[in-house]
């Protein structure tokens, strides 16, 4: 059952990233998550939004993104909707992560720090869902 939720609408402007990240971190913290967990969620939202801006929207800064964060009894659910290219990042062939080559850290963070991640293609974009369990 959803205890409470946060909804944000933004343009795909990198200048919005910090404010959105901080709003999500504050919501997570106010929902009873530890500072570390709230920071993890904030970083993963930042990385997801950055991927959308760079890849789904090819760097365009005026495209819509909607975020909904739900606090449940046992988890936090983050839903991020975009109207971009609709490519599931997990299906793009990538070489094994190499720390000496730039790139790949964002998806690595999301896989490591969130408990579940899914990408659901929409007819006109993508719905990304991330879950952080309460510990």
């Amino acid at each position: 059952m959803v205890q409470h939720h946060l909804e944000l609408k933004l343009d795909s402007d990198p200048g919005s990233l910090a404010a959105v990240r901080k709003a999500v971190e504050m919501f997570s913290s106010n929902s009873g998550f530890s500072e570390k967990a709230a920071n993890d969620v904030g970083l993963c939202v930042n990385e997801t939004l950055a991927n959308i801006i760079r890849h789904a929207y090819s760097g365009k800064t005026d495209r819509p993104i909607e975020i909904r964060v739900e606090a449940h009894d046992d988890r936090l659910i983050v839903l991020i909707r975009d109207w971009g290219a609709g490519v599931d990042p997990s299906t793009i062939p990538q070489p094994p992560y190499d720390p000496l080559t730039p790139g790949g850290v964002g998806l690595l963070c999301i896989k490591k720090l969130m408990d579940e991640v899914s990408y659901t293609p929409q007819s006109d974009g993508m719905l990304t869902m991330m879950v952080k369990l309460r510990t």
Binding site: I53, Y97, P99, P102
Partner: protein
């Protein structure tokens, strides 16, 4: 040594000491600010070809993967010229991200700028 201006508010000044360039980064570095940091950093490396680049991160509470990519690109450029990158005064979130990226053992982490200059 005199501080020289870069024109970028995330790394406003730098100084040269021997074969080293020392920079203090400031603020949160994400996709909004990392392109500017990249431009200044790579320009400094091209112009001065230091053997040591010392980045003081005491005033960087947060960075994301785009900032990490800039650091790795800088490290690769330095390595081609036989140089190394030193990071000092890491804040917890930045250190955590470096650990996830498995870069905490690749960059040279030192306590302060003087430690880097002694190496």
């Amino acid at each position: 040594m005199d501080e020289l201006a870069t024109g970028n508010k995330a790394l406003p000044t730098f100084r040269k000491e021997g074969d080293a360039i020392l920079l203090s980064l400031r603020g949160e570095i994400d996709l909004h600010s990392s392109p500017g940091v990249r431009t200044v950093l790579l320009d400094l490396l091209t112009k001065h070809k230091p053997k040591r680049l010392v980045l003081n991160l005491a005033e960087v509470p947060y960075m994301d993967s785009s900032a990490i990519a800039v650091l790795v690109e800088g490290m690769q450029k330095l390595r081609k010229d036989g140089g190394k990158i030193y990071l000092t005064n890491l804040q917890p979130r930045v250190r955590g991200l470096l650990e996830i990226a498995r870069l905490d053992t690749i960059f040279v982490l030192v306590n302060d700028e003087q430690d880097a200059l002694k190496k």
